[in-house]
Amino acid sequence: MSDLTTTPRLVEAGTSNTSYIGKPTSRVEGPAKVTGTAKYSAEFNVPGLLYGYVVTSPITKGRITKINSAPVLALEGVVQIFSHENVPSLAWFDRNYKDDVAPGGSPFRPLHDAEIKFNMQPVALVVADSFEVARYAASVLEIEYEQEKFDTNIDLKRDEGHKPGSGKTGFMPPPPPRGNPNDALKNATHRIEGEYIHGAQHHNPMEMFATTVEYHQDGKITAYDKTQGVYNVQQYITKIFGLSKDEARVVNHYMGGGFGSGLRPQYQVFLAVLAALELKQSVRVSLTRQQMFSFGHRPHTLQYLKMGTNPDGTLAALHHHALHETSKFEEYTENVVNWSGMLYQCENVNLGYQVAELDVYTPLDMRAPGAATGSFALEVAMDEMAYAAGLDPLDFRIRNYAEQDQNMKKPFSSKKLRECYHEGAAKFGWDKRTPEPRSMREGNQLIGWGMAGGVWDASMQKAAAKAIFTADGKLEVLSAAGENGTGTYTIMTQIAAETLGLPLEAVTFKLGDTNMPEAPLQGGSWTAASVGSAVKNVCTEVGEKLLKLAQKMKGSPLKGASIDDVHFADGQIRLNTNPSEAVVIRDILPASGEEKLEVESSAMPNMIKQQPYSMHSHNAVFVEVKVDEDLGTVHVTRVVNAVAAGRILNTKTARSQVLGSVVWGISMALMEETVMDHTFGRYMNHNYAEYHVPVNADIHDIDVVFVEEEDDKVNPLGVKGIGEVGMLGVAAAITNAVYHATGKRVRELPIYMDKLL
């Protein structure tokens, strides 16, 4: 029964304890993660579980001629072997296999036919009643192949690149040349040119890809899958296996790192669903660390830059051309060179971008795809140019500061790169640098100081959320977003709590389930803007409903007030004009007799507001290296990374994102490279012992500076995203610091010691 006669409690006005946005709130899911109670995809131990183990191809190109299944099937505990020989007929058309972010071309279909297109292609799935038996059985499955000649070396394809089509979401072909780049270069006062190279790199999140498919009595399935997008996976498996959305639920509450590797559905989800549907039993398929090198990577890329300056140190001309690998079946693209047309002011620019097809798996977006690659080459070239023109590298950049985006011919919605330069340089002590190479040392250690910077897109996608407010004063908010270390649980909880003036403890945010309203893929640094806006909207709508109910309470001080006349803080709805006139939010539903309020809402980018602007985040990185003069070993002893990324929702988790990005930059500069043996077309160092990433002893002082930046155009929250921009410029700044320390200009990553001796 509705009881609107309860008199509202009157409360003291005061400063709000429920403003959480921008605070260093500790991760709300922290206790689950530090106690091992957070469940990742391979950790749902459902009853009657079978285990699948993947067999991958040892050859690079050719055909399977024979699979000798019989002796393996005879082993005790082996349930089935799936291969192209016995896969049921599935969807036929390519479009059924295309996920939301598939590039142009024809997607790889696991176990589709006898053809081998790349090394370590999955060729069979052995299913057994224990993991150990499946692993053993897979190790003794005899398969015969016919081999063909293959191409895996981009170095031999320098002249066979072609301009790609625009098949991939987010890909922007480079803008046409502007000005007169050839003449301008010829007439320049100082000129440099060079080739910049890095090899393939693999994401290698700590958690290996895995899917646990729970097979329900009624034939429906729940797939606990390692993915950055549960909806993307759901549409992929429903289209291939002819299931309805109701029959295939996809869940991911925690992802043990993604970095782009989980943007596309990977083959283990296909295999696990296939086996579960065929066997009508729950199945888990986990990849091995070696198999983590069998799908998707940052492509091996060759870049060529030419630059020239005018007598006053301004850029006269800039040419930047990139060529990278793609597979023979899909055309992977990323924006490598476009950044060079917008980071600095230059009237004469020529940008070129090509891909070449190789017998490898299709590359895959990896943290700051394209920009991490392009900013390395551009920012090392800028350093070379500064030295050639006799200018300080920082001063040279400031002289060429771009006040508008010359690619798009649009102003920036906001740009605080200059402040990044100044605040970063001040914190680092850049003014104490002596410019000549080898001019700073400590005993046997050559000291080098280098800097660089970068630019990344600030984007927003459509997202939806649901909020349920219950009579006990608790709020639950749901959206099928992802959490892979980015802090999604925490920032969404902060936004919801602050919007409704509730204590954090009263709010629970849930994510990663196709039973929840749809959210975009967890990537592109857009989750905070997209899902955050949806959460804010849905909570605002709950607030409007609460206000209406509060106004019906007897003697309500809020009678006649519009939503703009009140604010939500400290568990109360308060009048703006007199905050001591308030209603306690917890009292509203009990008074109204309602048990709960449930609202669903969404948020979309405001195209009209955004259209006139170029929207980007920026950063500037300052690095100190110490290089052992005799051994050539490089240590990154100090880093200052100044980032302008709009409003920072949580200074603690955002700082961690930037710290992690710096570690990635150090890794890219000094360690990471997947090395291919072209005799076999196979990656040689496909494990954590030989694919080097930094450990604790490799990491020293890292300082993160968030430059204040207000932007009311990007989205209502004013956030630009923080997951990728922090990585930009790091590898280049290290390379530049190594030059300053040693006088050796390295243009090929990683910088191993042999390059310095």
């Binding site: 991760r27 993660k33 530090v34 106690t35 191809s57 002796p71 043990g256 270390g485 990433v693 604790n696």
Partner: protein
């Protein structure tokens, strides 16, 4: 080319049968568990797949990453590099035994306070390893902690926070 040739003599072979399971008793977090395990089951798989203690993580299965670190009689080991049957009679402590969400250990609390993780996947291994390091009593300075925590990879790159968290607890313990 023939992958994994099992039949070198040309005739039909039958493959060696998988070993059969036997009873094994493990003491995990102070509780005796009677389990049916084959001799080839690693301690890591025994924990995750047979005891439903999934807090211990698998990041490589080859002793290369440290995600699977647990304490055996107080010493940190990679649980992927030992067989479960070899650990009968030993005290095995996993992350679940160090603390629970409502009863966090000092290290677990420090990891939260210093945001010493992002995705959280390496975290149980880092915390068990840090507990082992404290038990060893060798590391005191930042450099020593960095060095002796370097068997645990964190791909998210949370090393700055990990160092701060471990240092805080090490300092507190030594001031006692």
């Amino acid at each position: 080319m023939i992958q994994q040739p099992t039949n070198t003599s040309g005739g039909a072979t039958s493959l060696p049968a998988p070993p059969s399971a036997g009873s094994v008793t493990l003491t995990i977090n102070g509780v005796q568990r009677h389990m049916q395990l084959a001799p080839w089951t690693t301690l890591l798989d025994a924990l995750r797949e047979y005891a439903d203690l999934t807090g211990t993580k698998k990041g490589c299965d080859h002793g290369q990453c440290g995600s699977c670190t647990v304490l055996v009689n107080g010493k940190r080991i990679n649980s992927c590099l030992t067989l479960a049957v070899m650990q009968e009679g030993n005290e095995i402590t996993t992350i679940e035994g160090l603390g629970q969400p409502e009863n966090l250990s000092p290290l677990q609390q420090a990891f939260i306070d210093h945001d010493a993780f992002q995705c959280g996947y390496c975290t149980p291994g880092q915390i068990c390893s840090a507990q082992g390091l404290i038990n060893e009593g060798r590391a005191h300075t930042e450099d020593e902690i960095r060095e002796l925590m370097s068997g645990n990879i964190c791909r998210c790159g949370a090393y700055v926070g990990i160092l701060a968290a471990v240092k805080e607890v090490v300092d507190k313990q030594s001031s006692k």
